[in-house]
């Protein structure tokens, strides 16, 4: 991807320190991943006794049992709906906002960007209880059930990823030449036509990056999920705690379930990480 830094080959000390550093770091990164994978293929006896690096026998039993020990399938569907909807809404709203900030001058622009970014600083714990009360009151007043429903969780999560998404897309849209959408406006596109026909297609890497970020944020959140869901709307973040009962902790099943819930996000993230780096390079980091 990039050309060698200098015409001279790097010195041996550099090569060796790089080798040692990256090897140690790879070990640090991979050991938990290995533990997760290997333990998920062990019989229960292997994970209750002293730790062993290799399973005494390989079994896929935990992968079958996880679905019946707790209603993992339902949690999975809930998480998919919540994270998917939050991502779509968050990206669309962020695209509109970033376009406004990037292409128009208007009163209150700076106030808007500063306010939105500063919400990143709020401790979640400060607005957890008030938000809970607001949702309950909205439910009582209008009959729209936000508390305990997927809708309430979607609303909450999409605002979590919104500030970073808007900020990153502003930078990205700024890097799309203005001449392009001005030409589209001259050709008779409305402002929204210029946005969707010209700016959005030119900013796909940034938009994909923002979508990945929004999905990961919603898929991994614990605090609000544990307070704002009930039995039917519970997401994976809370549901995974169901594998430890008073008597037994099914570590092999916990590891299998952890792996299963991780695969969609990790696979998606690794497939799209090129866009994330490109998006960050052009947008946030410029």
């Amino acid at each position: 991807m990039s050309t060698p830094r200098s015409p001279m080959a790097p010195p041996h000390t550099f090569l060796w320190s790089r080798r040692i550093f990256l090897t140690l770091l790879t070990g640090f990164v991979l050991i938990p991943v290995y533990v997760m994978l290997s333990s998920s293929l062990k019989p229960l006896a292997d994970v209750t006794g002293a730790f062993r690096w290799l399973p005494t026998e390989l079994t896929i039993r935990p992968y079958i049992d996880i679905w019946s020990t707790v209603p993992l399938g339902r949690y999975f569907v809930n998480s998919l709906i919540v994270a998917g909807a939050a991502t779509v809404c968050s990206v669309v709203i962020a695209v509109f906002s970033a376009y406004a900030v990037s292409r128009y001058s208007f009163r209150g622009k700076r106030v808007f960007t500063v306010t939105v970014l500063s919400t990143q600083m709020f401790p979640g714990i400060l607005f957890l209880l008030p938000l809970f009360l607001i949702y309950v009151n909205i439910g009582n007043a209008t009959g729209i059930a936000l508390f305990g429903s997927r809708g309430g969780l979607i609303l909450t999560y999409l605002t979590f990823s919104l500030p970073f998404s808007i900020w990153m897309l502003i930078g990205y849209f700024d890097s799309v030449p203005r001449d392009l959408d001005e030409a589209a406006l001259v050709d008779g596109c409305g402002p929204l036509g210029a946005l969707f026909r010209v700016v959005v297609p030119a900013a796909v890497p940034g938009i994909v990056a923002v979508a990945v970020y929004a999905f990961m944020t919603a898929w991994g959140e614990v605090l609000f999920a544990s307070v704002m869901t009930n039995d039917t709307t519970r997401t994976l973040a809370v549901g995974l705690q169901g594998y430890s009962t008073l008597n037994d902790v099914y570590w092999n099943q916990i590891m299998a379930a952890s792996l299963v819930v991780s695969v969609p996000v990790v696979a998606g993230f690794l497939l799209l990480q090129r866009y994330l780096v490109a998006g960050l390079t052009a947008g946030a980091v410029k």
């Binding site: 730790f51 939105v116 600083m121 607001i134 402002p191 605090l223 916990i254």
Partner: protein, 335 residues
């Protein structure tokens, strides 16, 4: 930045001329709606984001601040507005460092500061080192980069629960390696209770957090022109000098934002300690967000909990303000 400021400067003048010319002319009304649409459009585009931020962040924050002045115990939780006003009582309880509540809060605050400084420092150091080492191409670089991003991509609860398993006293990997295989400790240690829990929390936090620093620094490095390094190499600058004179100065603006973001995320982190320790965190790893959560939901004293959250927010505001003032001054003198 400069085109924006230029546009905002000229906009009022343009508006004034439009306003002056529109009454009297026949095409006035149509032109006015056109202007309204043009001026209103950015606000219309911002409206969804604005409404949602108001609903989920700003209004709850105002309510939270109001709650901090109320005596909000479980008896009033059904209808919080009827709770009696408590004035500054919640705040004086929170900052009375001789009494148990204040003392515990101060302790938790200090633990959080120490934890955040160490975690952010290590995340930044490891992330930057890895990004710099991987600046040049070598075989396996793409694979390594993908591997390094895995901890960041994993859902928090799945990653942290794996660490919980590794830190188990009887059947965990950490004790197996340190005690059984290397013989470094006399007997297996407890990692999730007692003083060791701070080390455990720090390890998990760094493991989870450094790839983000790596990602951002890596993106920042791509904006440094290659010619700079070539010119420096021709002038006889070694790798260390290139790092000190080119790489680190060029990364400065990136680092300023990165460190601030890492600081805020780490300081407010709830997910990692909550999954690692459950509802009651050990004293040595009693991070402030979990502490406030416990103070509110375990004792059902939401007034005091809100007061503590407001104090936390004030502290973060001050730190962010000082950081922004210092970095923007640095940027101005550099120019």
């Amino acid at each position: 930045m400069s085109p924006h400021t230029a546009m905002t400067a000229t906009a009022p003048a343009a508006e004034a001329t439009v306003r002056k010319s529109s009454p009297g002319t026949a095409r006035g009304p149509r032109r006015r709606t056109g202007r309204l649409r043009r001026v209103g459009l950015p606000y219309l585009l911002l409206l969804p984001a604005l409404l949602l931020e108001l609903l989920v962040h700003l209004v709850p924050m105002v309510i939270g601040i109001a709650m901090s002045f109320k005596e909000l115990t479980q008896f009033y939780i059904r209808d919080w507005s009827t709770a009696p006003w408590a004035g500054l009582d919640n705040y004086s309880v929170s900052v009375d460092f001789d009494a148990p509540v204040g003392k515990a809060l101060l302790h938790s605050f200090l633990v959080t500061v120490a934890f955040t400084v160490l975690s952010v420092g290590l995340c930044w150091l490891i992330g930057t080192a890895a990004a710099v080492f991987m600046q040049d191409t070598f075989r396996g670089r793409g694979l390594l980069r993908a591997l390094f991003l895995v901890p960041y991509a994993l859902p928090v609860y799945a990653a942290v629960i794996t660490w919980v398993f590794m830190f188990q006293h009887d059947n965990g990997l950490v004790n197996h390696v340190l005690h059984d295989q290397l013989g470094l400790t006399d007997k297996p240690s407890f990692w999730l209770i007692g003083d060791n829990s701070f080390v455990a929390l720090l390890t998990v936090s760094v493991w989870k957090g450094w790839p983000f620093a790596f990602l951002i620094v890596m993106a920042g490095l791509q904006n440094i022109p290659r010619e700079l390094y070539e010119a420096a190499a021709l002038d006889g600058a070694g790798m260390v000098q290139q790092l000190r004179r080119i790489t680190l100065p060029s990364l400065r603006p990136v680092n300023q934002v990165l460190v601030l973001v890492l600081f805020l995320w780490t300081f407010n982190d709830f997910n990692t300690p909550y999954v690692l320790f459950g509802k009651s965190a050990p004293e040595a790893a009693d991070l402030i967000s979990v502490h406030i959560y416990q103070a509110s939901f375990v004792t059902w004293n939401f007034g005091t909990g809100s007061a503590m959250s407001v104090l936390l927010l004030l502290f973060l505001l001050v730190v962010t303000g000082v950081h922004l003032a210092l970095t923007s001054r640095g940027r101005r003198t550099a120019q």
